[in-house]
């Protein structure tokens, strides 16, 4: 399986094909449809990352030393960006996630969506994923 760096490079390459923003958004809209569906039981407040503009639900499970992420959002483009994040970060070891430098977001021009003031839940989502990784990593070391 390709590592985090390689997947990020892949995504950046895909985005260089697009001439304008509407094409990029169209692609994100397409990606949103393929997002691994979060189980309905996780789509409640305990799993909710609240933003002013959109909501994100996130669940993490730990299987075979890897973290499996599922998520959803009420906004479609946010969902598309989540799909990219999951493609990069899901099915990875806690250490890989902790060390991940998510450069691709900036490189494909979506950095503004992660500004603290944008309040769409994405920045908090990344923080939450990192926290899960730290927690699972600590648990692993304890065992």
């Amino acid at each position: 399986m390709t590592n985090i760096q390689e997947v990020q490079r892949e995504i950046v390459n895909e985005f260089t094909l697009f001439d304008d923003w509407m094409e990029r958004y169209n692609y994100l809209i397409e990606l949103s449809k393929d997002l691994p569906v979060i189980d309905a039981k996780y789509k409640k407040n305990d799993y909710l990352i609240r933003g002013c503009q959109s909501k994100v639900w996130l669940n993490a499970e730990y299987k075979d030393h890897k973290i499996i992420l599922t998520a959803d959002s009420d906004a479609i483009i946010t969902k598309g960006i989540i799909a990219l994040l999951i493609r990069v970060l899901s099915n990875r070891t806690p250490q890989e996630i902790i060390n991940a430098d998510l450069k691709f977001i900036d490189e494909i021009g979506l950095k503004q969506n992660l500004s603290p003031t944008r309040a769409n839940g994405l920045l908090s989502m990344i923080k939450q994923i990192k926290l899960y990784a730290i927690a699972y990593d600590a648990k692993e070391k304890k065992n």
């Binding site: 923003w21 002013c52 946010t78 969506n113």
Partner: protein
């Protein structure tokens, strides 16, 4: 006087900018307005030729700055027809003004069991400072509701007022619904029971004529940056009889008379409310912005913006895929809407990339969203430099956004 839209647009340099290679369409005037050249120039001139701390120096520049600052106070007083310029306190903005009033008025006049009345359509700036006061003093906040059209249910005010009511604080124009509230009527009702009224004029001062003596309001606040002036400057107007009786909000330089370690006596109004080095360049910039508004004429501005609002409402309705929140007959050029079946965040992101600046979210008015049981809206707030062509483009993109997202 004719309304020369091309000339006005030329006065605002930022309107010529492009974003993502698209011509900027600025529909976020409710958040802040753009600045005309005279305002930019005077701020620049001040920093490059005249800067000096006011009320302190015994030198040429300080005298000049002090005079200009006090002239700015006179300009503001004249603009809202205050009886005296000493009734104008410079603050950091509407939020700063309301916090100042909530503290000073609250310290002096509010105690346990007392009541403050606001409306259901307030900006958070006219909710939270009063909530904090109520918590401090164990007082109670009461709410004048609005109906689904966005019309304030003013008739409920008489029943909300009791002998415990200390102040009524009302937003003049809703920053979310655009409703122009009948503040004169509200002031009359409150005054019948001798209750003072504060008006939040942050969204009205730039759109229509506000005359504090004619309204007979006791306090009024607004921000410079929403009225074509710089950020970080605003106004608390208070009738002299009130200001004389309120304790100062912050302590520091300039607000004092005699300071000893045992005791301090305070400077006179308005200086006792202006501790520390004030934002004098902001004040001078704001006065210039008010002069700019006068040069166009508030009546002309109001007429043009009302026309834009009616045009935009009609055009948005004609799309057939838009729900407008706030349909009061008395309404300013603020349009809150949702595209049917499209999330506001998605719409906002697309508008942005198509060159249109709108605001998306709760607009610092979560209680308004709670009324309609929605998470937020897209808000297009229009100003004197917006055009019907821009509205046409907005409506065109609404169809594009809808097609892409559903």
């Amino acid at each position: 006087m004719s309304f020369d839209i091309d000339k006005i647009r030329n006065d605002f340099p930022v309107l010529g900018e492009k974003v993502y290679n698209k011509q900027l369409i600025y529909f976020d005037n409710g958040a802040t307005t753009q600045k005309p050249s005279p305002v930019i120039e005077i701020i620049n001139k001040y920093h490059s030729k005249l800067n000096s701390s006011i009320h302190r120096g015994v030198h040429f520049l300080s005298d000049q700055a002090t005079n200009d600052y006090e002239d700015a106070r006179k300009k503001v007083a004249e603009f809202i027809n205050a009886e005296k310029s000493s009734e104008i306190i410079f603050t950091s903005g509407s939020t700063g003004s309301i916090n100042m009033l909530a503290f000073s008025f609250g310290e002096k006049f509010v105690s346990e069991g007392d009541e403050i009345i606001i409306t259901e359509m307030e900006h958070h700036a006219n909710i939270v400072p009063w909530q904090m006061l109520c918590e401090r003093k164990k007082a109670k906040l009461k709410i004048i509701p609005f109906n689904d059209e966005g019309i304030l249910q003013t008739e409920s005010l008489s029943t909300l007022i009791t002998e415990k009511t200390k102040l009524v604080s009302v937003i003049h124009i809703s920053n979310t619904l655009g409703t122009i509230n009948p503040i004169k009527n509200i002031i009359e009702i409150a005054h019948r029971q001798s209750i003072p009224v504060m008006i939040d004029a942050a969204q009205s001062i730039q759109h229509l004529s506000v005359d504090v003596q004619e309204l007979d309001c006791d306090f009024l606040v607004f921000s410079g940056h929403k009225a074509y002036g710089p950020t970080g400057i605003g106004i608390l107007y208070g009738k002299e009889k009130w200001l004389e009786n309120l304790p100062p909000y912050q302590g520091g330089g300039d607000m004092v008379d005699i300071v000893t370690f045992e005791n301090t006596t305070y400077n006179e109004v308005p200086f006792k409310f202006e501790a520390g080095t004030t934002n004098y360049i902001g004040a001078i910039g704001m006065a210039e912005a008010l002069r700019y508004i006068e040069s166009i004429g508030l009546e002309n501005i109001g007429k043009y913006e009302t026309e834009l609002m009616h045009y935009a409402t009609k055009k948005l309705k004609e799309t057939g895929i838009v729900t407008i929140y706030g349909n009061a007959p008395e309404k300013a050029s603020i349009l809150s809407f949702l595209i049917d079946g499209v999330h506001m965040a998605d719409a906002g992101m697309m508008f942005d990339k198509l060159g249109i600046a709108v605001r998306v979210g709760t607009h610092c008015a979560q209680t308004v969203m709670q009324h309609f049981n929605i998470d937020g809206t897209v808000r297009a707030s229009m100003s004197m430099y917006n055009t019907k062509e821009e509205i046409d483009y907005l409506c065109q993109t609404i169809h594009q956004v809808k097609a892409m997202l559903s």
